[in-house]
């Protein structure tokens, strides 16, 4: 078993307990998609592409009153150590659902009845916390399409490793740590739109962990904002 934390509180990848992995986001990376983004979050490498609002197929899914949102989270077969079967696993289907529900509150689709917005997320390389990183890229890709939004969605996990609450759990810590809590917020309203937990926490640790994760989400938000500014104001695109 790897040592997850040194005596002086340094984690297995050299970070402090309150430190995020390196994050970089690039907006508008795909030609065909209406909106797109690429994120590197530690060793995670994830592409998000958004299409729509467009016609709904199959037609029976269309809603007369509002546009709908669909989301697909998918991992490439080469994204993990052992080759992953390319067919969607139950884990991927569940994550697709929680990602959709995390993004939905930020979108205003009332003005696009009978249409769909499709969000496709492809995890090219996975390294713990891929659902949060996927969500960060998807939110920016949605903003890139110009669909009306109330807020962005920013996600980050916190967890418990070697009896301490840590920010942004990596793959080793996820496998061998004590708890993992992915969280997403709408940074301006403060509302929590994604939250999951596995692992054992006391009531106090639960509260600290949630607040630690939210602190991480706010840092991620700054990276997302800068990526959007770079795309629309600094690279000369009108």
């Amino acid at each position: 078993m790897t040592q997850l934390m040194s005596e002086d509180g340094i984690r297995c990848d050299g970070r402090r307990v309150d430190q995020l992995r390196n994050i970089s986001i690039k907006v508008g990376v795909l030609k065909n998609a209406d909106g797109s983004a690429y994120i590197e979050f530690g060793k995670n490498k994830i592409l998000a592409g958004v299409f729509g609002p467009r016609d709904v197929h199959p037609k029976h899914m269309a809603n007369q009153d509002t546009g709908i949102l669909r989301c697909r989270y998918h991992m490439s077969p080469f994204s993990v150590t052992e080759r992953k079967n390319p067919a969607p696993s139950r884990r991927e289907i569940e994550i697709s659902k929680v990602l959709k529900e995390a993004l939905q509150p930020a979108l205003i689709l009332k003005d696009f009845p009978r249409t769909v917005v499709d969000v496709f997320v492809e995890v090219l390389q996975a390294d713990g916390g891929s659902r949060c990183a996927a969500l960060d890229a998807a939110a920016v890709a949605l903003a890139d399409t110009g669909i009306p939004m109330r807020d962005l969605v920013s996600a980050c996990a916190a967890g418990k490793v070697a009896d301490r609450i840590v920010l942004d759990v990596n793959n080793e810590e996820d496998q061998e740590g004590q708890a993992d809590m992915p969280v997403a917020i709408m940074p301006n309203s403060g509302k929590v739109t994604l939250m999951q937990l596995d692992g054992i926490l006391t009531s106090e640790e639960y509260k600290t962990c949630l607040q630690t994760a939210i602190g991480g989400c706010k840092q991620v938000y700054e990276v997302q904002r800068r990526a959007l500014i770079e795309r629309y104001f600094e690279s000369g695109v009108q």
Partner: protein
């Protein structure tokens, strides 16, 4: 179109009542529906339970059989927990591959039992890395009136508590059943899942199908016997404030205590 209008009417009615601290079926906001648990309903299973939570009804069976361990977990027995909504349980359910909702249901129920470490899987090893005992917990929703998460979770936990584990001996590197010798499952703690819905600014425990149809967001929190929070899943198309999430964890602990007393009687 019609159904949308009816949902809006129901939502208005439900919200009106919530403002007075009441619900459609007369319950308090933090009150669960009556829970009945009957065990031993399927004698051919190693353990079973039929659980009614209000009008939601679930049958769970436990099967125990020798199996190969997962390659990276050779020192642990196998635990598999599934759930499905039978087509006879709800007019809107059709036969076919599982929907996202059903997959989420099964995974949330599994997570509650796995993450609380209810069953000591280390005690289910026959030969390390080669042969272990597998515990398969399969739940079928047979009547659906909301909060399938908690109903399936209580049924699964009850079925495990009522189960007997057959004894296996190793002969020529293969497990052989020893007739007539059984033991109780190695249970360490009792997971209790509590599902809450947010409608407007109100948090209610154990939502019915009508309440789920008009809720803004949902959360399922599983606690263990020591009062820790072990698994959690937020669902629904809107979010929660941090204060609401703190309140939910407290409600999960207080409501969970009552349910745990009921489950303890099965031990």
């Amino acid at each position: 179109m019609e159904s949308v209008i009816i949902d809006q009417l129901k939502r208005d009615k439900i919200l009106d009542l919530l403002k007075q601290g009441r619900r459609l079926d007369g319950r308090a906001l933090d009150e669960q529906r009556p829970l009945t648990i009957e065990t031993g309903v399927i004698p051919k299973a190693n353990g079973s339970a039929r659980v009614k939570l209000g009008n939601t009804e679930v049958i769970t069976g436990v099967k125990v059989q020798p199996d190969k361990p997962f390659p990276d977990l050779g020192d642990k027995g196998i635990l598999i927990c599934t759930a499905e909504i039978l087509p006879l349980a709800d007019p809107h359910v059709e036969p076919g591959p599982p929907t996202e909702e059903v997959i989420e249901l099964a995974r949330v129920v599994d997570r509650g039992i796995r993450e609380t470490e209810m069953i000591d899987l280390h005690q289910l090893v026959l030969i390390e890395d080669k042969s272990v005992v597998g515990i398969f917990i399969d739940s079928s929703v047979i009547d659906s009136d909301g909060n399938l998460f908690d109903a399936c979770s209580y049924a699964s936990v009850s079925a495990v508590l009522s189960s007997t584990i057959p004894k296996y001996e190793i002969k020529d590197d293969a497990p052989v059943l020893v007739e007539g010798v059984t033991s109780k499952p190695p249970v360490k703690t009792l997971p209790v899942s509590v599902t809450m819905a947010r409608i407007g600014d109100y948090i209610i425990v154990d939502p019915t199908k009508d309440e789920e149809a008009c809720m803004d967001a949902r959360i399922t929190i599983t606690t263990n016997s020591a009062g820790n929070i072990c698994a959690l899943q937020k669902g629904g198309e809107d979010g929660f404030t941090v204060d609401q999430l703190f309140k939910c964890s407290e409600m999960a602990l207080s409501v969970g205590t009552k349910i745990r007393k009921k489950l303890e009687q099965l031990m």
